[in-house]
């Protein structure tokens, strides 16, 4: 019997003024799966995430499974935070009062030695590990990660994905992730959604990599090259 999806979006549309940022997007997120959202700059990836967490008004329907617990990591915290904030206090702001549990989670995410550091002094990779620890503190059914490896070097990226894979294996948490890194996407995802205002194509990484819409957006070498940046701004396949 198929499991109840964690999130079902139907006809999800977001407009800003007259501009359509998301156009009638349908998708669902299943328990335990690793679903990755890719798309060129300006495709509406961040808008879709913001709709999921309730930050932007939308039309259409977005149904969360009853009692769904959400963990979320922002792309980064606003630069140059003026607020003095030790890492342990930041984790506690999730609502977790037990100091030992907070410490265990930081250690689980490879950030045990950071607990007394100030948030503003962390590197990009350290920030992502702390944000992940905070998101996991809520024992989520679904983790929503907004470009978690942005600004990380290749080894840092590999370590982060390994950590994520370990945590998925342990907890069975579903992961919905925005990523630019096509190589990692192909290796780590169960399913991929390719977005450009609307959903261009979706499916297993293998299916998406062969899809003409995907190839038009990202070029024929996408997914084969170990790492490359893509600067295609337009999707003109209609």
């Amino acid at each position: 019997m198929p499991e109840t999806p964690l999130i079902v979006a139907k006809d999800l549309t977001v407009k800003r003024g007259k501009r359509v940022l998301l156009d009638a997007v349908d998708f669902e997120i299943l328990p335990g799966e690793a679903l990755t959202l890719i798309g060129p700059n300006g495709a509406g990836k961040t808008t879709l995430i913001r709709a999921l967490i309730g930050m932007v008004p939308f039309s259409g329907s977005l149904i969360r499974r009853k009692g769904l617990r959400l963990g979320y990591t922002p792309q980064k915290l606003p630069l140059e935070q003026l607020i003095p904030m030790p890492v342990d206090r930041f984790i506690a702001l999730s609502g977790e009062r037990n100091r030992i549990r907070r410490r265990e989670m930081l250690a689980r995410c490879g950030a045990a030695d950071l607990q007394d550091s100030q948030m503003s002094t962390l590197s990009g990779g350290e920030t992502q590990r702390v944000l992940l620890a905070r998101a996991l503190m809520r024992a989520p059914d679904l983790l929503i990660l907004d470009e978690p490896t942005q600004g990380l070097d290749s080894p840092g990226e590999a370590r982060f994905y390994q950590l994520l894979a370990d945590i998925r294996a342990e907890t069975g948490v579903a992961v919905f992730m925005v990523s630019h890194d096509l190589h990692m996407v192909m290796a780590q995802s169960d399913r991929v959604i390719c977005l450009n205002q609307h959903i261009c194509c979706s499916g297993t990484p293998g299916v998406v990599a062969e899809d003409p819409n995907y190839l038009q957006l990202f070029g024929p070498r996408a997914g084969i090259a170990p790492y490359q940046h893509h600067h295609h701004e337009h999707c003109d396949h209609d």
Binding site: G17, R50, I53, G54, M55, L70, G71, Y72, T73, P74, L77, P78, Q81, L82, I83, P84, M85, P86, R89, F90, L93, S94, G95, Q118, R134, R138, I144
Partner: protein, 261 residues
């Protein structure tokens, strides 16, 4: 022997400094100094309107400052840069207030005292108002503290964790509007933002946690009030600006302090 009116001024000033500490830290963390200015400047129009309608000035200030703060928070989206919009609102409010004070019937206003404060004439009844209003602000902020910190760190994170951004905005803007009404007597509407951000900014380099920063800001604010009143007494300077001068000196000392890192 200390004069009773000086004691009253000190008591009122300390109460304002304590309420200013958490609010001022939030204003500094959120980079909303201009927002404080605009809300403060709206107070003059509030005083003028209240006087012309024969109502207590404090009512006019709370109503007009709240209206200003809510308008800026909810009605300004896109079009102009945020600092341009705040500059427009802030200066328009001040100018409209000055014009209204001049032309509205029944308004007899000592402009100097409204703009720069008049703490040495504070009455026992006004102290009661400041204490009551301050207690309400502090209680609300304390109850909402975790949400206020989360919204400051990342509104997205707060929304994802199920917090209400609307509630956060309402608490912040309305607390600020009420604070304007309480602090007007002490430093005047031109220097209200200074009373908020100077102690907080001076406390920032000395604190390693948000709560510690609030506590240090409260201490610096208290010292500034007492130092400013002493300066005013000894050198016959205007009390409100003297308080801000002392706070500025503390800020410079804190900023010049040798850093460990």
């Amino acid at each position: 022997m200390i004069d009773p009116f000086l004691l009253k001024a000190a008591l009122a000033g300390l109460l304002v400094a304590w309420v200013a500490a958490p609010l001022g830290c939030l204003v500094v963390w959120r980079r909303m100094a201009y927002f404080g200015d605009a809300t403060g400047h709206a107070a003059l129009l509030g005083v003028a309107l209240a006087m012309s309608l024969s109502m207590p000035p404090i009512v006019g200030v709370v109503v007009v400052a709240s209206a200003m703060a809510l308008t800026i928070t909810f009605a300004t989206r896109g079009g102009f840069a945020a600092d341009t919009m705040l500059g427009v609102f802030s200066h328009a409010a001040l100018a409209i207030g000055l014009v209204a004070a001049a032309v509205l019937p029944g308004v007899r206003l000592n402009l100097m005292n409204t703009l720069l404060g008049d703490i040495l004439t504070v009455s026992s009844q006004e102290i009661m108002w400041i204490a009551a209003g301050g207690a309400v602000i502090l209680a609300v902020i304390a109850a909402a503290w975790r949400g206020l910190l989360n919204a400051t760190l990342s509104p997205e994170l707060m929304a994802a964790e199920g917090g209400s951004l609307l509630r956060d905005k309402l608490i912040f803007t309305l607390s600020l509007a009420v604070f304007v009404a309480l602090a007007m007597k002490l430093v005047g509407i031109l220097l209200i933002t200074a009373m908020l951000i100077l102690p907080a900014a001076a406390a920032a380099p000395l604190a390693r946690s948000p709560e510690r920063m609030v506590a240090i800001a409260a201490l610096i604010g208290s010292a500034s009030v007492l130092g400013g009143l002493w300066l005013s007494w000894e050198a016959d300077t205007p009390a409100g600006p003297s308080i801000i001068v002392v706070a500025s000196l503390v800020f410079v000392l804190s900023a010049l302090r040798p850093h460990k890192n």
